[in-house]
């Protein structure tokens, strides 16, 4: 999959909050400028109503809506849609620059499961990623919901799915120095919250995955289970703690990191399509 690295560089190394979105009704690719105008007016109106974000400095919010470059994926995938909110301070309008305050993008990578079964007037972009203040997210979300009759839901990632990510990403071939594979577990039923962080040398993790994976290029639940069981057994041998009884809440690798609250950071551009494909699948299963 050849994705132009410059065009998608801004997607990397940022913590994106994930949502699943139901198909958009009558979304027209040709009307992106109109949508930007309408959204801008909506946000201005919301601010008038007193739902302002910043107290003190008056900010004008400028909205830009654009289609995003090819992110990899199939022919049926709709091109991603990027929404950016920038602010220009009214006070020093002479030499001020627009400052990006919020971005969000809708995408679908190999989302054929959903797009195949949907009537014509609907656009399927089931994954929504945001970066910026929650108040802007809810304003943008409300506008999209009203305009395109869709529904947003925070995408939670279960420990089961996080362990898939750990296995998949630990097994990725990377050139150069890779960072450690880190798994964070939350211990249940304690009066004080306690998290355990388990860091594994990336080469060890990849070596383990290579011995576990039965068919190269294919990942099964059994492979993931064996991989995780080996890590749990190793930890138990040293610390006498059963991590399998705890809740896996975060996975960090050199490829990407993911938190069970539905927050993802993609680090390596080469694996951007792969990560997005996995997240699209999670979003679709949350919708259905």
């Amino acid at each position: 999959e050849n994705v132009e690295p410059q065009k998608t560089a801004f997607l990397l190394r940022k913590a994106w909050t994930l949502y699943s979105v139901t198909p958009l009704y009558r979304f027209r690719r040709g009307r992106l400028r109109d949508y930007a105008r309408l959204l801008s007016a909506f946000i201005a109106a919301e601010k008038q109503k007193g739902l302002a974000v910043e107290v003190g400095v008056e900010l004008d919010i400028k909205v830009a809506v654009s289609s995003l470059a090819d992110l990899g994926g199939s022919e049926q995938d709709q091109a991603a849609v990027l929404v950016q909110l920038s602010s220009r301070s009214r006070v020093s309008s002479r030499n001020s620059e627009d400052k990006l305050v919020w971005s969000g993008w809708f995408c679908s990578v190999h989302g054929d499961d959903l797009s195949e079964n949907v009537p014509e007037d609907f656009t399927c972009l089931p994954l929504f990623l945001t970066h910026g203040a929650e108040s802007y997210t809810s304003m943008v979300g409300s506008w999209f919901q009203k305009t395109f009759d869709c529904c947003f839901r925070r995408l939670a990632i279960s420990p089961l799915n996080l362990s898939w990510m750990a296995a998949m990403w630990a097994g990725c071939k990377l050139d150069g120095a890779a960072s450690a594979v880190e798994l964070v577990f939350s211990m249940p039923r304690l009066s004080q919250p306690l998290d355990i962080s388990y860091a594994i040398h990336p080469e060890d993790a990849k070596a383990l995955w290579d011995t576990v994976q039965k068919t190269p290029g294919e990942i099964t639940q059994e492979d993931v289970d064996v991989f995780m069981d080996c890590l749990y057994a190793h930890f138990h041998r040293h610390f006498k703690i059963h991590l399998s009884a705890a809740k896996l809440v975060k996975v960090s690798t050199a490829v990407a990191s993911a938190h069970s609250d539905g927050i993802v950071k993609i680090i390596h551009s080469q694996y951007l399509p792969g990560v997005l494909m996995l997240l699209t699948e999670l979003a679709i299963s949350q919708i259905q």
Binding site: S158, P159, L160, S244, A245
Partner: protein, 131 residues
């Protein structure tokens, strides 16, 4: 009688009453609970698997906290010819109804209900497979 794993300590064998039903509890949020149950199953005499064993899976209220695949549990139930009950014991109402269900099953397994024996559970399971 509650135990965290099998086998039961042998010191108390002579004091223990007859066991009519074994309920294996699995918390869907804990992979460890599944492993524990799988290990304990090996200590159960084969005769119990004629309707005197059932699997109780709790924690199904929160899909986002799942650490075990439900298909893995269903396969376990099929392998051991025993019913799998799904519930959410953190909800009081469901605690009560689940307890009532288990009590009913126990009555049947202990032979207190005339005309129905533990073997009916096994045949009930086979019927749903044939559908």
């Amino acid at each position: 009688h509650l135990a965290t794993s099998l086998p039961l300590p042998s010191e108390r064998d002579h004091l223990r009453p007859r066991i009519d039903l074994i309920v294996f509890m699995i918390d869907i949020k804990s992979k460890y609970s599944l492993k524990n149950v799988e290990a304990s199953l090996t200590y159960v005499d084969a005769s119990f698997f004629l309707g005197k064993v059932c699997f109780l899976v709790t924690g199904v209220g929160r899909v986002s906290a799942c650490s075990i695949e439900t298909s893995a549990i269903c396969k376990l139930g099929e392998a051991y010819c025993s019913p799998v009950l799904f519930c959410e014991l953190e909800l009081e109402g469901i605690q009560v109804t689940t307890a009532q269900r288990l009590l009913r099953m126990l009555q049947i397994c202990a032979g207190h209900i005339p005309g129905v024996s533990a073997l009916s559970f096994v045949s009930l399971m086979r019927n749903s497979d044939d559908d």
